[in-house]
Symmetry: C2
DNA sequence: CTGTTAGCGCCTTCAC
DNA sequence: GTGAAGGCGCTAACAG
């Protein structure tokens, strides 16, 4: 029984073996549910485990099996409810299948995000799922190619070698939104985007812009970019409305920014939806409590989480397709009061 | 260079040593910034590391050092914004100090939560911080006593041996709320509580009840319990208002439940705050967007996260006080429109 | 059915 | 300043 730095001790497999009067190997067999153990022996070992409060050390086990039954999950902002829903979905799925999910924040400062994913690897995960956010496709490809484990990207529909991508069909979503706005008579549609990293293609922005140009004939729809938080959305929407007083609709990058737009309209005395229609993305529950309640694109976070988890699992067994793979999910427009 | 199950390989310290033409120990010294390495040797090793894209295996390292520079964090619901804020705060703090935070969901089915915390331990964390939620003090004590690492509990002000507790001063919070309500003429105050586990003492409920009894003279303030989600809060508040039509104030267990109460009032045609005043806990950002905006108890999530992290850190060095320790945080009442 | 041997990737201790 | 031996806790492969 070895001492830990602070003096408290945790039993090892050897302690169990000593007490049960067997070899370490036999204890290991009991732990792994190996069939060829005499029932009496098994019972003795189980009793020893119970009495000692023994728990196997997963690091030691992973070191030799090269498998930790652990997946890693990374996203820039766990407080973002769409990320949170997906993370929770994966956690649930993991639990049911005997896996463990290690969650961490994707840090730009950490080698443009690659460092975060690498650290996950050195922690011994069997696969990595993540929301790319600011990460560049090239970095993602390099990481995936050298990772030696399945890599699943959620929320960007790019085809990257060695990567399975689970993403919303952004074109379909943009069309749903703009069709709805145009049908209710809107013509001047502004867009609130996530703060942009110039290196990164914003599929959402591109899709929205195309849909707006196609359906309203406006050549360059106004856009303002900021952090995807309520107060930044409020600021950006205020700027947008000041610069373009004739705007009759605003599409937010997500529900949170759209809520900021709601506040901006209040500030400026514009009625929603009479003067300005507002639409968000994600379908978070708080959208039901705003005034008016938020019209939004609903993403099937749970379904996407399940798909991501299954992709990791099958990647562990069969490897990830070298050419990469994209799984697109169809959006749904939830019409509430704001548009 | 060993092969992983899927065929892709990751370099080990031996590969680096071979390429740099030194022994493993020298590579290890470079990795650990050991001073006694010749500059030229160091450079050769660093180049080899760079070229190979080598990253040390933290599990192997932790196995021998008995230190992983990793802390574990657990909470029932990562989507709860107060939990999320605290988690994000700890993650930030961890990063700055060279630590890594492993986050997971506390599962009741997993041995009443103890299993979740134990699994974190078998993953090799150097300390555990968690929101106890449904966990019982006795289980927490047992876990902490046998964990062999610092254990920090957030959000329950109980003094438990081997545990450092970082919690809101519930009495102060309850008094702030009830004083404010009474001052604005409310006398019939109902309470929305988190779904109750009979074994667990709800400090928040006890504090609220005492404050209400003291200040209004009502002997048994009405209470309804359900999950801390908007729709459950709505249901519970509806029940409460139906059973007690004379209620003129509702205190929610958290902001989310309070938002449910907002919806219930809308459903039943009660004006907020004219007919019914509503107060929540936590001070989440979405409270600013509801109609009317939510009056709430603000918790200093970041400050509490910092304190929790520091407690873990000092626990690693000096051990956790055997008698346990409670750090109380003072609440603040943010008065917006709903009360 | 059970024990022995070897080694996962790395660091610590002790040589030189 | 550098290398060799030994072991962290565990399981795989082989013996018996």
């Amino acid at each position: 029984m070895k001492r830990r730095p602070n003096g408290i001790t945790r039993p090892t497999i050897i302690d169990v073996a000593d007490i049960a009067n067997v070899s370490r190997q036999t204890v290991s067999r009991v732990l792994l549910d190996h069939p060829r153990v005499a029932p009496a022996t098994r019972r003795r070992v189980e009793e020893a485990i119970e009495n000692l409060g023994y728990r196997p050390n997963r690091m030691a086990r992973a070191l030799v099996t090269r498998t930790s039954l652990t997946f890693g999950f990374a996203a820039v902002d766990m407080q973002d409810l769409h990320f949170g829903d997906t993370c929770a979905g994966m956690q649930e799925e993991a639990r049911e299948r005997g896996y463990y999910l290690v969650v961490t924040r994707l840090e730009f400062e950490d080698d443009r995000g690659v460092g975060t994913l690498e650290t996950l690897l050195t922690l011994g995960v069997d696969g990595v799922a993540f929301f790319p956010s600011f990460m560049e496709n090239a970095d993602i490809e390099t990481f995936a190619a050298t990772s030696g484990c399945p890599v699943v990207m959620i929320g960007r529909g790019a085809k990257i070698p060695y990567v399975v991508s689970v993403a919303l069909d952004e074109t379909a979503a943009a069309n749903l939104i703009v069709d709805h706005l145009v049908q209710s008579g809107r013509r001047q549609i502004g867009v609130l985007m996530n703060e942009m990293f110039p290196e990164v293609v914003h599929e959402r922005f591109v899709a929205l812009q195309r849909a707006i140009v196609d359906r309203t004939g406006v050549a360059r729809p106004p856009v303002e970019a900021d952090h995807p938080r309520i107060k930044h959305g409020r600021k950006a929407a205020t700027t947008l409305l000041r610069r373009h007083p004739d705007l009759d609709a605003i599409v937010g990058f997500n529900d949170t920014m759209a809520m900021g737009a709601l506040l901006a309209c209040q500030d400026l005395g514009r009625r929603v939806p009479e003067d300005v229609a507002i639409v968000g993305y994600d379908g978070i529950s708080f959208g039901a409590v705003t005034s008016p309640p938020l019209t939004t694109i609903v993403q099937d976070s749970i379904g996407m989480a399940d798909a991501a988890f299954r992709a990791l699992l099958s990647g562990v067994r069969d490897g990830v397709p070298v050419e990469g793979e994209v799984m697109l999910w169809q959006p749904e427009l939830l019409i509430r009061g704001s548009a």
